[in-house]
Amino acid sequence: MNIFDFGVLTNWFDNLLESVMPSWAATVVECVIIGVLLLAVYSVLALFYIFYERKLCAWFQCRLGPMRVGPWGVLQSFADMFKILIKELIRLENIDRFLFALAPYLVIVASMLSFAVLPWGKGLQIIDFNIGVFFMIAASSIGVLGILLAGWSSNNKYTLIGAMRSGAQMISYELSVGLSIMTMVVFAGTMSITGLVEAQADGWFIFKGHLPAVIAFIIYLIAATGETNRGPFDLPEAEHELTAGYHTEYSGIHFGFFYLAEYLNLFIVSGIASLMFLGGWMPFHVPGWEGFNAIMDYIPSVVWFIGKAFFVSFIIIWFKWSFPRVRIDQLLALEWKYLMPIGLFNLVLMTLVVVYGLHF
């Protein structure tokens, strides 16, 4: 494995800081820098994702999508963000002001926390726990709290229905997401994110893991779409039923937070899919093809990771723009009657595969 290790850069920077200031100060400076970088990457990625989805959806729909602002409309989402930033935050009467203001922050904090643990590239891990996957799942489930609060505190019938739907939906679908991730954790034998990626050096899990890995991947894709409230599972904000669902009453940057978090959650679930099934930042290798593998190694690991995430997002976006929305009873029936039992069975199957060494 000759892929460039970003650890060289980060260690050099760390040593540089330590040479000019005490160790604690260096850590503080690094934390601040990482925080700023994260925020920057977070917002830029969100803007890119908005553009990405708008373009893809336009092409699915025989349209061109945004074309006016900048070449091919690439600056459109910057313009949109600027618009959201300068819009008035409307003060509503008869609402729970504190919870109303708190809700968007909970949503965005949840999505940022899980964003932070993604394996960006070789040596580009912000923090490497031995229970990284567990942390990621835990952090991402705070989001539902924000949505419930938003719906409740708005004192509006549409938002309340939207919040109740999303509560039921996100909690249900988290089970399947968790189960399929657990299946892969059993296969890898580790919960550390770096460990998971390293374990895929000789082949991505989706290839190595046999049938159970493929089943887990499919379940994960469906459940993740459900957990991020995207079509065909976009019931909490089903605009044709509930106008805008739980965020009907929000304006300005408060709405912007929900909007950003929604797109970033798409990136996060795609990132987790690429980490769990598609090798994280691992390049694509074919055993025996040395030349091909060497060329693949030249592509930086960051590009591999982001590229895979974009690919998974493409599939999820493809769903959304092809299918009609499901109904709440169908949604819950799909999870509790099909996905979860299959997921449980699949976990057992994977355990057997691991115990008897039936994988590659």
Partner: protein, 546 residues
């Protein structure tokens, strides 16, 4: 066929008859209720379909015209019921016999102040509750000081009233509440993405389940029928394009037919072919819009754009010939306003050529989808008997197996020469309604192909009758004409006193009846089904709020 005169004369000896295109029976207010029961239930008469309840003010008396049809024998009958009491006009309601009268009688009450005894919900339908007077009465005072533009919000009226006759023949007023204080009532509309216009559905829900729907129309009521009374006949034509704007041609065709019938004008054959072609293009565009909106409401946004892509092509055809895309103003009394554009036939043929392929795409994208199927099949079921009783026509009625195509049953213009099938489904659910529209698109394409051939062969080049008088005055009388618009049977009733303005002009819209079944079809389904069902009923708001 029974002799209606003899039969009704026996049932109601005091009735007077007036021969015409349709037999008109005049009965006194007191005898109407008994006669209505006989008309509905008598095996020989069997008038099970009440087409319209039309309020008229004859100055010396107020009253209603009931247009009745028997779906079995296709016999038609007009009943005129009058009351001389202008202060406190009262008639007996027939809303328990024909449910379609539930909304239509409310409309009459709204505009003429006639109270219907026994009607369960005697509130105004379109106007605000604080409106003073009854605008379609001839002695109505339109002084803006009496009814200023009110800037205050209208109070939510949960109080309803019903008038019941007790054993002594006295009428009692009973008030009751539409909703209880702790009912969870959600407003869908007037501003809502899925009501397709400013329409409000007050929906009582229990969790995700819809318990009851109370439609509140009237947000864009323009008083077209009132306006028509002060316009000359050619001027009234322009309002028809603004009723159901997705049936602009058919509506205008209907009004033109009615006036031409009254004047005895022969429309040149070329004009008739063009009119029917335009009608079918309009129907095609309307069904494409309906496909788009229904898929969109169910969350399949991409399908919406596919439907709109072909609709755009039709609008371009309209644009070339009529100079407009929405309010087309193409039919005039005696024919059409101008000959078709030289490219017209070529464009229509191109459209017909691509449609079969495009239909396959629609089916691939939506019809076959498992989510679409599970969400529409068995949802919002309406039976054939209910469809007839609620006066439903058009694709929504044909989905129940009820054959009601005006083009087949009382062909107008050149429809009798054309070969087409009346599309019928039997399930009566949202999927059947959707499929009727999709299959009607195929019929439209086949009709258009036949019509292209006819128009090419047609040697006459007159597109408008030459002898249409400059000042159109209809003789004294009354006429009723129906056509098959995109959403069902659209009717025009004209009553003339010989002047240059109509004395009374009524538009009988299919969509008003459609909102009458929203409660029936949506109760005990989920909120998401409410959207699916209303989308599959496919009503257009300006047609409700005339």
């Amino acid at each position: 066929m029974v002799d209606l005169k003899e039969k009704i004369g026996k049932l109601c000896p005091s009735a007077t008859f007036e021969d015409g295109e349709v037999l008109r029976v005049s009965v006194a207010a007191g005898e109407w209720r008994a006669l209505a029961e006989q008309l509905k239930n008598d095996a020989d008469l069997n008038f099970d379909y009440l087409v319209a309840v039309i309020g008229v003010d004859w100055k010396e008396s107020l009253g209603c015209i009931y247009e009745l049809t028997s779906t079995a024998t296709r016999a038609m009958l007009e009943v005129k019921v009058t009351t001389a009491d202008r202060e406190n006009p009262m008639l007996h309601s027939v809303s328990d016999l024909w449910k379609v009268a539930l909304l239509q009688e409310r409309e009459v009450f709204d505009f003429y102040g006639i109270v219907f005894i026994g009607h369960p919900d005697m509130r105004r339908l379109f106007l605000r509750n604080d409106w003073v007077g009854y605008p379609l009465r001839k002695d109505y005072d339109a002084n803006p000081e009496i009814n200023p533009i009110r800037l205050n919000l209208e109070e939510n009226e949960d109080d309803s009233v019903t008038y019941v006759e007790n054993e002594n023949g006295e009428v009692e007023k009973k008030e009751y509440k539409l909703f209880e204080a702790d009912d969870y009532v959600v407003n869908f509309g007037p501003q809502h993405p899925s009501t397709h216009g400013v329409m409000r559905l007050r929906t009582l829900i229990d969790g995700e389940t819809v318990k009851r729907v109370v439609p509140v129309p009237g947000y864009i009521h323009r008083g077209i029928e009132k306006l028509c009374e002060s316009h000359s006949y050619p001027q009234t034509l322009m309002y028809t394009d603004r009723l159901d704007y997705m049936s602009a041609h058919q509506n205008r065709h209907c009004l033109c037919l009615c006036i031409e019938k009254a004047l005895g004008i022969e429309v040149p054959r070329r004009a008739q072919i063009i009119r029917v072609m335009m009608d079918e293009l309009m129907r095609l565009s309307s069904h494409l819009l309906s496909y788009g909106c229904m898929t969109m409401d169910m969350g399949a946004t991409t399908a919406f754009f596919y439907g709109f892509r072909e609709r755009e092509q039709i609008l371009d055809i309209f644009d070339k010939t009529c100079g407009a895309r929405m309010s087309l103003h193409y039919n005039v009394i005696g024919g059409v306003v101008a000959d078709v554009h030289p490219d017209f036939i070529k464009d229509v043929r191109e459209l017909c050529a691509i449609m079969p392929e495009r239909l396959k795409e629609y089916h691939k994208l939506f019809t076959g989808n498992v989510i679409a199927q599970t969400r529409t099949k068995g949802v919002g079921v309406m039976t054939k008997a209910e469809a007839i009783n609620y006066g439903i026509t058009g694709p929504s009625a044909r989905a129940t197996g009820y054959s009601c195509d005006v083009r087949k049953h009382s062909p107008y213009s050149i429809y009798s020469e054309l070969k087409f099938d009346e599309v019928l489904e039997s399930a009566g659910d949202s999927f059947a309604r959707y499929m009727v529209r999709m299959r009607e698109i195929e019929q439209c394409v086949s009709l258009l192909e036949q019509l292209c051939d006819m128009l090419e062969r047609e040697e006459g080049n007159e597109y408008c009758a030459p002898k249409v008088p400059k000042l159109i005055k209809l003789p004294v009388g009354h006429w009723f004409q129906q056509v098959e618009a995109s959403r069902g049977a659209f009717g025009v009733y004209i009553e003339s006193d010989g002047g240059k303005n109509p004395y009374r002009m009524h538009f009988n819209s299919p969509c008003l009846n459609l909102i009458g079944v929203v409660d029936l079809t949506c109760s005990n389904y989920k909120i998401a089904d409410l959207i699916t069902i209303t989308a599959s009923l496919d009503y257009v708001i300006p047609d409700i709020d005339r």
